[in-house]
Amino acid sequence: MTIRVQKEGFDPWRELAAYQEAHARDWAGRFGATSVFVGSLRDFNQGQVVTGMALEHYPGMTETYLEKISAEARSRWELLDTLVVHRYGPLSLADSIVLVAVWSEHRDAAFAACRYLIDELKTRAPFWKRETTSAGVRWVEENNP
């Protein structure tokens, strides 16, 4: 179970490859399903052109809740492992904001746990998006499903 909150940009696909590689020996033959969610910065939101974003967070509480949510997923489903990486600070268009990955024996648990992790993260992890749009800077007031 790994969670990481970082200012630096990341490539989710390289992250996944590196994570699996690091666990290759332990995990050989032990999972049959991997489910992945990647959230990226779009160039539009609520009818306006978005040119950039900054993510504020509550250091400490953010990590606590990502760990809590990951532990909840592992208690609800039979999982081999979970990985959550989330950015904070300034972001550019098309940057990856969040990566959630789940490894399990079968797809039902992988899909369900991946969905649970991103949905719970969106409602409980203390992050706030501040968008730069064609009309100026604004705080994002709500998350779309």
């Binding site: 959230g39 993510l55 509480m61 706030w128 501040r130 994002v140």
Partner: protein
């Protein structure tokens, strides 16, 4: 954690901007719950939908507070 007779109060995102500060310390004496802490730091009512945390765990306006606590107020979260 705040100094023992104090409560450390933190604000985030749009609420931080509205109040013009990210944190302050208040005397814990006379404050029994989160709503009391808000009344100490602002003359306005607690904005609708505001989330609160005590020592980095979600709480509610009626949750009890004591000296040494860190109490945070922030708008609905929008990560992911």
């Amino acid at each position: 954690m705040a100094k023992m007779s104090l409560i450390k109060v933190r604000f985030f995102a749009s609420l931080r901007e509205r109040l013009g500060r990210s944190e302050e310390q208040v005397e814990a004496a006379g404050l029994s719950c989160v709503a009391d802490v808000w009344s100490r730091v602002s003359a306005d009512p607690l904005p609708a939908n505001t989330l609160v945390a005590i020592n980095q765990e979600y709480a509610s306006p009626g949750s009890p507070v004591r000296a040494g606590d860190e109490v945070a107020f922030f708008p609905p979260v929008t990560g992911g």
